[in-house]
Symmetry: C2
Subunit: 271 residues, 2 copies
C-alpha cells in the first residue's frame, strides 16, 4: 500500500493482493510492514510503499493500483482478502501518522510486528487503537431520518454518524449526534451490530433510535441536508427506483444493513 | 485534578467538586483547563493542577483529596457530579500524555476549550478519542466464566475484557479475547449495554457470549486465574456469602450489571 492506494496483481479471475516479499520490495521503496496473520501456512504482511512511487505504478499493465473502497465496492479481490486489506490499511495509516511520541516528541520505533510503537526516550508504548463511531437511524413511526454529507457520491443519502466522545455511552452518543446534526431528540436507542471501517481506523457501531420530535434543524457545517423518508420511499431506493433518484450506501457499508433491517422489520428492530 | 488525584471541598453533606475559578487557581499551579458544559447557567471547567502540589493539599482540613474511583465507590459527591468528573479526568489525562504531535514531533497547542490540540508546525489536529473495550461474560449453560487479574482487589473476580483491535467488530473482539485469555471458544455474542470508563479513556462495551467448549486454558500473562462458577454461587457473591469469600465488582462497574443480568435472567440475556 502507498498512501490511499493499494497495489494488486492482475490475475485470470480479477486481482490478487498476495505478493512474495521480494516481489513487493521490487515495486517501490518500502517503510513499515505489519503482520496480518497467516494465509494458509505462510505469514501475511501489509507493506507500506512510498506513496509517490506507488502512483507511478498505475501505468503498469500487470497491476491494478486503486483505493480500498473501490476494491471493496467493485469486488476486485476474493472476499477473504478484504478483512486483511482493511487491517493493513488501518495499521499502515496509523504508522504514517504516528512516527513521534505524543508524550515527549521523540521519534518512536516499530515493535511487535507492527502492532506497537515504542518511545526510546520516555519509554511510553503506543498502540494502534480504534475510534468508536455511532451510526444510527432515527425512526419516527413510518418514517426514518437520512442525511447527506457533502463528501457523499451524488444522490446518496445515509444514516447520521459521529465519534463517541469521552464520558458518554454508545446510546448517549447516538442521541447527542442526532440532536446536534438534525435537531431530533431520541428516546430508546437499540444496538444493531458493529463493523470495522478502516477510513482511517473506526469501529462503526450501528443503532436504531426512536425519535420523539419531528421538526428537523440541519447543522449545515456537518450536513448538506437531512430529511424524513417513508418506508415505501426507502424500499424504492433499494431497487434503484426512487422518484428523485436517491440511493443508499452499498452492502459493504453497515448503513445499508441498518436501513434494510428497518425497511424489512419496521418497529421490530427495537426487539 | 492533579495526576490521579481529585480535589473536593468539604461541605455539610459530604464533598463538593465546584470551585470558583479564582479558588481553583489558588490551590496549586495550573496547566490545561477543559470545558465540561454548564452547571446551572455557569460554565463548568476541569482544571489540571500540578500533581506534586496537589499531593501536598492532602493535609488541608477544608479539602478532600482522593482518587476518582474512591469518590465513585464511596459516593462522596452528588451523583450528577460523577459524569463531569470522569470527563475531566479523561480529558486532562489525555492532555498530559499528548503534548506533542505524533505526526511531526512538534509541541502542540490546546484549542476548542480543551477538546482539541493543534500542531503549529504540520497543522495536524489531534482529538481526544476513546478506546473501545469489550467486556464479556462467557456462559456455558448454568455456569459463567469469571477471571482474576493481578491488579484486582483481593478476592474480587470479574468478566474478561480487552481492547477492540483494528479490523474487528465488537462481536469478533469478544470472541478473540475470551479465546486468548481463557481458551474458551464463543458462538453467539449479544450486546448488553455500554459505559464510559475514564481509566484512562475507555468505552466499555458489555456483552454476553455463549461458550461452545468448557476446558479453560488460562493466559497467565493476562490473568492470575479463570474459573467457571454456577449461577447459585454467583448469586451468593452478590449478597457477600460466597463460601470462599469471592466478590464481584461494585455497581459503578458495568461488569456488575453484566453478571447481575445473567444471574437474574439466565439464558434470557440472549433475548
Amino acid at each position: 500500500m502507498g498512501g490511499e492506494l493499494v497495489v494488486l496483481k492482475k490475475s485470470r479471475n480479477g486481482a490478487d493482493p498476495l505478493f512474495r516479499p521480494e516481489e513487493a520490495r521490487a515495486l517501490a521503496p518500502t517503510a513499515e510492514s505489519v503482520f496480518l496473520g497467516l494465509a494458509g501456512d505462510a505469514g501475511r504482511f501489509g507493506i507500506a510503499l512510498d506513496p509517490e512511487a506507488t502512483k507511478a505504478l498505475k501505468g503498469r499493465p500487470d497491476l491494478f493500483v486503486t483505493d480500498l473502497r473501490s476494491i471493496a465496492v467493485q469486488g476486485l479481490v476474493a472476499p477473504e482478502h478484504l478483512a486483511p486489506l482493511a487491517e493493513a490499511k488501518a495499521l499502515l495509516a496509523w504508522h504514517a501518522r504516528h512516527r513521534f511520541c505524543a508524550n515527549c516528541g521523540a521519534a518512536t520505533n516499530v515493535s511487535q510486528a507492527g502492532w506497537k510503537r515504542e518511545c526510546p526516550s520516555c519509554k511510553v508504548e503506543h498502540f494502534p487503537r480504534t475510534d468508536p463511531v455511532v451510526i444510527m437511524l432515527a425512526i419516527d413511526g413510518d418514517r426514518c431520518l437520512l442525511g447527506r454529507a457533502g463528501r457523499f457520491v451524488a444522490n446518496m443519502w445515509s444514516c447520521l454518524a459521529g465519534f463517541v466522545e469521552p464520558g458518554e455511552s454508545i446510546e448517549e452518543a447516538a442521541r447527542r449526534e442526532t440532536l446536534e446534526e438534525a435537531g431530533i431528540v431520541c428516546g430508546e436507542v437499540k444496538y444493531f451490530r458493529s463493523q470495522p471501517w478502516p477510513f482511517p481506523m473506526s469501529l462503526m457501531i450501528g443503532c436504531h433510535a426512536r425519535a420523539t420530535n419531528s421538526d428537523i434543524t440541519v447543522d449545515r457545517e456537518e450536513l448538506e441536508d437531512a430529511r424524513w423518508f417513508t418506508r415505501d420511499e426507502v424500499a424504492l431506493m433499494f431497487v434503484g427506483r426512487h422518484p428523485e433518484g436517491i440511493s443508499i450506501p452499498p452492502p459493504i457499508a453497515i448503513a445499508h444493513h441498518i436501513i434494510r433491517a428497518w425497511v424489512e422489520e419496521g418497529d421490530g428492530v427495537f426487539g
